[in-house]
Subunit: 378 residues, 2 copies
Amino acid sequence: MNQRLPVQGAQGDLLRLVATGKAESRADLARLSGLAASSVSLRVEELLDAGLLAEEGSGTSRGGRRPRLLRLSETAGVLAVADLGAHHVRLGLLDLSGAPLVIEERPCEIADGPRATLDRIADAFDALLAEHVPAPVPLRGIGTGIPGPVDPLTLRVVTPSRMPGWNDFPVAEHLATRYDLPILVENDANLMAAGETRCWPDRRNLMVVKAGTGIGCGVVVNGRLHRGRGAAGDISHVRVRSDSSVICACGHPDCLEAYASGAALMAALSEAGIPVTRTGDIVGLVNDAIPEATSLVRNAGRRIGEVLTVLVNFFNPDVVAVGGSLSAAEPLITSIRAAVWERCLPLATRDLEVAPARAGRDAALLGAGALLLEAALT
Amino acid sequence: MNQRLPVQGAQGDLLRLVATGKAESRADLARLSGLAASSVSLRVEELLDAGLLAEEGSGTSRGGRRPRLLRLSETAGVLAVADLGAHHVRLGLLDLSGAPLVIEERPCEIADGPRATLDRIADAFDALLAEHVPAPVPLRGIGTGIPGPVDPLTLRVVTPSRMPGWNDFPVAEHLATRYDLPILVENDANLMAAGETRCWPDRRNLMVVKAGTGIGCGVVVNGRLHRGRGAAGDISHVRVRSDSSVICACGHPDCLEAYASGAALMAALSEAGIPVTRTGDIVGLVNDAIPEATSLVRNAGRRIGEVLTVLVNFFNPDVVAVGGSLSAAEPLITSIRAAVWERCLPLATRDLEVAPARAGRDAALLGAGALLLEAALT
DNA sequence: CTCACTTCCTTCGATATCGAAGATAAGCCG
DNA sequence: CGGCTTATCTTCGATATCGAAGGAAGTGAG
């Protein structure tokens, strides 16, 4: 069953606070929402009656009466989210708070084109719903992550590399023919940033770097995802300083990704007689103290760090989180940190954290859940 | 007479829309504010009664009845703003819409220290008020621009260069001993960005570069000034690619400002036997087609542009506005453009405007007025 | 010239929210 | 153990805002 969230005005604001885990009682809601306690009481009553919230037990006293705890109702609804890669898709169902109900990975070739790929994803959603969700629990929204830029105004994919047929394809419209629900279409690095943000409470400005086969970055400003024109955060084609000159796949010389991406490291290792089939294997080599691997990863971290220094000076983020399959290599993080600390202004790095990403491999799906909840409540 | 603006809730929202020139009638206010026409009518009546708004004539019909035009009342109040330089201060009085009533420049040595400098500015404010403002018109706020980083949480100056005695000085607290009013303390590049934003309607993401004796940049994200930790937008110490190596005043090699700042250009011209005393004179030399000057300015533009390409890819702004005393040199702008267009992603530069700043020499004061109005209405 | 439609602004009853007061149940101190 | 303070949540009258309807004054077509 598909059904949009039946809330309006202050109800949505309150539901959001409970769904995101920020509030657990009426008193919490009054403190966080700015509404008077009487207004909160009335609106919560409506959400309880609508089956969106439920009461469950009592909280701890803060010196007065114990609060009655509120939680998202199990019948509040689910969100269907997918994160598309070149050769596979990771997809699943989340409850409105973003907690996974089921997540799975399936083979899927993005080169098959958008219609076939999106229909296969929708079929998978329907199968998961039938298998895992009781009939009275409604589907409230659909979210998809795309490995290319997405124009935030038109929600169309924009000149993606290695994705034939996807340019200018209206992903949201296509999915809307099948679901009359809020639909999210977003770049995967942006989803990853949205997911990572949930792991850094009280931080409003983050950069989430994806160090994988490619290099990407998502940006969160004042707690909100910054999309720009759909290409915001792109650092892969920044020109780095180099004694030699390497032509990037994009045609320009000396792009960051020509030196520091997982693909570039794999090529360099193959040339050194160390064949690697997946970027994740590079981490294993580093852990085994293979000198060539460690040196390459360290060099990649230094280069990424040099690019990040420009951005950290400019943006003054609270956090630089590094994810992606290379991020488990500790020399990558330490050399990024060294480069950032060496060249950044002291004020720009005051209280800055450069750390491995916390959200794990499903950051993009969790990010999709968070953004979709927001879309559903607006 | 000092008096805070006596508005609350929706009154402030409506006053802001009239003061910023976005609305001129009740119908405009209803469209822009989201309030019902009946609510707008009631609140406007209160603002008229409070002497903050006035009615004046009729507007043009849009097919139905002509609207009654609203404007800021002359008795609504004034704002006192100042922009501090190393050797002078530019200060004046603005009305609540930001229109200058009087602006003047006075000699002032920042090296005299904060107390003496700020007291002198306050004395100047008081003199301007006595001379130019009728007694019933209240002062509603004080704004000051500082040529160094300002911590947005503490409103203290942070490790400014060449400003002895100013580090960690609580500028706002000092001024508050004299004025019980909203007080703004902000970095001058940020004020310039706030002022420039008003000249680019419907643009929400801007970078405002100041190419003067030094190099600075202000950043506006989603229509709001981005301060970061107080150092956001700083591009002067980004390391640029170079065949040689020049040590910057900060101690690091190859900072942007060691190559591309007005001070650096002046030094290079002196070495070429062309003595220059003010960065503004470089523009004259370029206009006279002195080859050394044009070459230096073009090279500076290219370097600034190279740094900007990283930031444009990352941030995807709508506008890059270039101000400061060097910005009148056309080769500077054209070589910035060339560098940006050459290396940026097509999506990042789609609809981007790289242009001379429009706000003129008082951008910082106008920016102070805009931010101060916001402070007064919050 | 008249009539129908549009736009602006006001009036009024309905609805949402505020703020004060009160009920209930905690914790803490003497 | 009792009294006082604190915290949570509810009740109720006051206030802000909404939404519908209406009055006034425009415009344009027939």
